[in-house]
């Protein structure tokens, strides 16, 4: 298994895609963090989907709202980089040589999932650092302060890293389930950018659905962080699961996708 992990890790880092995605994520998160910090610091309602609502977070709440952005805004990136672990193998047919050196297909799946934690941590740390880097100076200069000494802030940042890492693992498993690279990218982008936001807005508006909406992957991730970009900012009443349950739901997505991948994509003939 150690060998399998090293192999998977080398596969990922020997191509350029991962750092292209990383750079785009950094640029995007820096930008969003600056805009959000600015709009919160000036107390305005200029940005964000929940803008214009009554309760604008103040003080440390403003800081945590900005610092928590890496997950809800940036989770598409670790999902995408994770999905590449399988989709590039099928796109370039390297799955053949991968299975020649490791014909136990279950081991291949597990190795991909586990090794993605490394790249996930990179995305988690860099992504989380990006929102702090973008948000903190603006909050300090124009708002109530950056609150970088606060224990709550640091705990939030740590959980942000954990969640982004988990997204990477979920991405790996999803890529195994949808090995067609274009299809996987389209589904991930569509789901994260349109389907889930809409589903969660609808979920928070319709009481009967809020129980279901809690189990959407993005809502589970919010539960881990304890803040909801959609619920909190909008002042809505989206109920979040407890943190442990949020973690469990994210892990469950990864496991279900992985088992499904093993029994569909990886059961098929390769050739």
């Amino acid at each position: 298994m150690r060998a399998a992990l090293l192999t998977e890790y080398r596969k990922l880092v020997s191509t350029r895609m991962w750092w292209v995605l990383l750079l785009v994520m950094v640029a995007y998160l820096l930008f969003i963090a600056v805009v959000m910090a600015f709009s919160l610091a000036t107390g305005g309602g200029a940005g964000g989907p929940g803008a214009g609502s009554a309760a604008v977070p103040q003080g440390v709440d403003a800081a945590t709202t900005v610092y928590a952005l890496a997950n809800p805004i940036g989770y598409v990136f670790p999902l995408l980089v994770g999905s590449l672990a399988f989709t590039t193998e099928f796109r370039h047919r390297t799955i053949t040589s991968s299975l020649l050196v490791e014909p136990r297909r279950g081991v291949l799946v597990v190795a991909k999932l586990v090794s993605s934690v490394v790249i996930g941590l990179v995305f988690g740390i860099v992504g989380t650092a990006s929102v702090v880097l973008g948000g903190a100076p603006v909050l300090a200069a124009a708002g109530d302060g950056a609150f970088l000494a606060s224990g709550d802030v640091w705990s939030l940042l740590a959980w942000s890293v954990v969640v982004l890492t988990l997204w990477t693992v979920v991405g790996v498993a999803f890529g195994g389930l949808v090995p067609n690279q274009v299809a996987a990218i389209v589904v991930i982008v569509a789901f994260t950018q349109f389907v889930e936001p809409i589903a969660r807005v609808v979920g928070s508006a319709v009481d009967a659905l809020s129980g279901v909406a809690q189990f959407l992957p993005g809502a589970a991730a919010d539960a881990v962080l304890g803040t909801s970009f959609f619920g909190g900012l909008g002042g809505g009443a989206t109920d979040l699961l407890p943190r442990w349950a949020g973690l469990a739901v994210l892990v469950a997505y990864a496991l279900v996708f992985a088992v499904a991948a093993r029994s569909t994509t990886l059961r098929k003939d390769i050739g």
Partner: protein, 312 residues
């Protein structure tokens, strides 16, 4: 290095309506190069993929040594395989590709450099595979196969895209491996390409075995032709008739089928027939190969192409 043989045992693979491999059985011995031959679409690649655990057989099994490929621990140390070229990530370098495999093969970077040198890719190893030519990809595939210094080597059309020097080099490499006692199985759709390399041949068509023997066994199947020039053709025809040889006229010479030049010469000498020329026509193995592999298809097309019930 313990030699392991390959055994293909009643292997069948159907893709929907297409039967790619049909109840195929053959064995490959160590210490020899075996050519796995058949025309395009005859099921060579599918057979090799089943042998390597990539494709699940509809029926039958294939063993390397005493077990299926997937049950071999660290299989790349026992079996080195290269299937069709171009299965590389274009953004990876040649060396990068080998380094992704190395941990599971159980070798270090030094070995990666070593095999790159062996296949002649030292110059190109730092370049991305995107820019590799067909022959360079073929060599990189071979390098991947040899990474674990395996006693069994399986190559699917390894000569594709290689230049003449490359083909000679590959032949010598495979001969060397065979002399070391390794088991070598190479597929090709052209007999001539491997004729000087292989010891044994396994020939399939339409997924079915049509011939398996040492190369000399194929030579025995080649039709014997003797070209004879004589001032008394009718005498030669008489001799031929006595022995059951057939004779046809080809310009000013006679072509005798079913005998060697020795036999014809001895007989002519015995009965005192004057000969001006007596030549064995060189054995064309490719003709034998074409005849073996074409027959099944031709029979099928002929059957399909015959208008039913209208044969007067």
């Amino acid at each position: 290095m313990e030699p392991a043989a390959i055994a293909v045992d009643h292997l069948t693979k159907r893709f929907g309506a297409v039967t790619a491999v049909d109840d195929l059985s053959f064995e490959v011995r160590p210490g020899a190069v075996t050519g796995f031959l058949g025309p395009n679409g005859s099921g060579k690649t599918t057979t090799l993929r089943m042998l390597l655990g990539l494709v699940r057989p509809t029926a039958g099994r294939a063993l390397v040594g005493d077990r299926p490929y997937v049950a071999i621990p660290r299989p790349a140390r026992t079996v080195g395989a290269a299937l069709e070229a171009s299965s590389f990530h274009p953004g990876r370098t040649g060396l990068g590709h080998l380094r992704t495999l190395a941990p599971q093969v159980g070798v270090d970077d030094a070995r990666c450099h070593e095999v790159l040198e062996l296949v002649g890719l030292v110059e190109a190893k730092g370049r991305r595979v995107q820019g590799y030519s067909m022959g360079m990809r073929q060599r990189l595939g071979l390098a991947s196969a040899l990474l674990g210094d395996p006693p069994v080597v399986i190559l699917d059309e390894p000569a594709n895209g290689l230049d003449p020097q490359g083909i000679v080099w590959l032949r010598e490499l495979l001969r060397l491996f065979a002399s070391e006692g390794r088991t070598i199985l190479v597929s090709s759709h052209v007999l001539a390409e491997v004729q000087t390399t292989v010891d044994d041949v396994v020939i399939i068509t339409g997924g079915r075995l049509v011939h398996a023997s040492p190369l000399s066994g194929l030579e025995d199947l080649a039709e014997r032709l003797v070209v004879v020039r004589t001032p008394t053709p009718e005498e030669v025809e008489r001799i031929a008739a006595q022995h059951g040889w057939t004779v046809t006229h080809d310009g000013g010479s006679l072509v005798v089928r079913g005998a060697t030049a020795q036999q014809v010469g001895a007989e002519a000498f015995r009965v005192g027939v004057e000969l001006h020329q007596l030549v064995d026509r060189s054995v064309e193995l490719e003709d034998v190969f074409l005849r073996l592999t074409a027959s099944a298809e031709d029979l099928a097309t002929r059957a399909a192409g015959t208008p039913r019930g209208r044969v007067a």
